[in-house]
Point group: C2
């Protein structure tokens, strides 16, 4: 998907919501557990209920890998289901991969050729050759970790070089020298400190930012939009638990839809 297509979807649906499919078999409604593939059935119901409120889905690989082969099968089925039934959805494999060049190339093949997602999250610690293999695919995206929303983000991401540049800024700056640009790279920027978005926008004014930490993790959508939005929206805001686990009864999908719609309606006001 190109940046213009993504922006087109955002304006048409008045939404820049990404629904995080962090599906844990231990947390889904009990009545699904006797199905052949409960995780897929849960995802399918969530997707059917929320697809017109959001522009992206982000399955986190950990939740599927932790169920072994069966979990991976649920993931593949989920991605294929979205691809077939909702082709305008942007699919992000939240995998946080990154390895030496020839190995990252294998990961790129996994997500872009085999699983066929639009984007994959990548960790920057190993530098240029760990990231560039993901950039060689037309219309596919790297979502590079810059500033994450967890407590541990403070351990390294804020460390300043002697010239005062914090590590997350070095990541943004270097990525632009690696061939990353607003058409093939986005950045994970946690919502917990929205005012830092101003600083980030100076380095990557046109790029999309994938913002986790709205909802369960406590960030404010208004602040994210105030500091992070650009002329082509430039934001994909993720919510996982606050939507998919909003209800644990047979009514879970309808409640998930209500939650997603609430976020979408708030988003519509910021897109005006």
């Amino acid at each position: 998907m190109t940046r213009d297509e993504l922006y087109g979807n955002i304006m048409r649906k008045k939404s820049f919501l990404c629904v995080g499919l962090d599906t844990d078999i231990r947390k889904i409604p009990g009545h699904l557990l006797d199905r052949e593939d409960p995780v897929f059935e849960f995802n399918k119901a969530i997707i059917d209920a929320t697809a017109d409120c959001c522009i992206a889905y982000k399955p986190n690989l950990a939740f599927y890998e932790s169920d072994g082969m069966k979990g991976m099968q649920s993931l593949y089925r989920t991605v294929a289901y979205i691809r077939k039934n909702y082709p305008d959805q942007f699919i992000i494999a939240d995998a946080k991969r990154g390895d030496i060049g020839n190995t990252s190339k294998m990961y790129a093949r996994c997500f872009f050729e085999d699983m066929k997602t639009d984007a994959v999250t990548v960790a920057p610690y190993m530098g240029q050759d760990s990231v560039t293999p993901f950039l060689g695919y037309d219309g596919r995206w790297v979502v590079l970790l810059a500033l994450t929303s967890n407590a541990g983000a403070a351990d390294f991401q804020y460390i300043q070089a002697p010239d005062g540049t914090p590590l997350y800024q070095s990541v943004l700056q270097k990525s632009l020298q690696w061939g990353g640009n607003a058409d093939n790279m986005m950045y994970v920027v946690g919502a917990t400190r929205a005012e830092m978005l101003t600083d980030i926008r100076r380095t990557v004014p046109d790029s999309f930012l994938l913002v986790p930490g709205i909802g369960a993790q406590g960030g404010s959508l208004a602040d994210v939009c105030r500091y992070g939005m650009n002329s082509k929206c430039g934001l994909i805001v993720n919510s996982s638990r606050a939507i998919i686990y909003a209800d644990s009864t047979e009514n879970f999908a309808a409640v998930a839809r209500q939650k997603a719609q609430q976020v979408q309606q708030e988003m519509a006001t910021y897109l005006k």
Copy 2:
């Protein structure tokens, strides 16, 4: 596996070699391709041929994930085969995972409960809560990326804080505050700049270091031992391509064995 057990295996076998199972279906001998699971057959032959020369195996997840569900099946079968037939082998899932706390917990479950490896490589960028969930398993290990062997390592890992501490040293230091110690945590330290091992040993004198970059990536085993060995060896040295792809004929396993044995024999001289 405890540190003493690992050290015991090293002294008994006079080897601290880890064979990297970076098995790419595009690179294995042609005669295997008509088998039902060529990747597993290749691994099985390599393992049977090299098991008495090495103390660890390290499958890199990317090579299996890139073949989708089939590749993951080959990986699970490989780990189970080693576990059953060579229970003294230390198995490292080279996955370079790392995510927010509740997600890292799922990854830990994947590798330690489902796949049943002894260790998993973890990327430090997201800090404490991305690493500690892997530490809650007796006899299981985190192998934390500190200084990697690729060119991109220079992009961020050497960045110095105002007090002169390079990022890879901050990673070592912080990990010790997180509950990491010589009995539950090792570090990836690339062999390309072996003299830096002296510096690393000051911070983590007793810890095992997993050293990639011997062989195809060009590091020197003698230098690694000179600068990195401690009183209980403290080194696991990995070689992947130089062993497993040393020959591409039907004779590949025998040649892999020769290569592994050469390394083991050199290692034996350093263990005296």
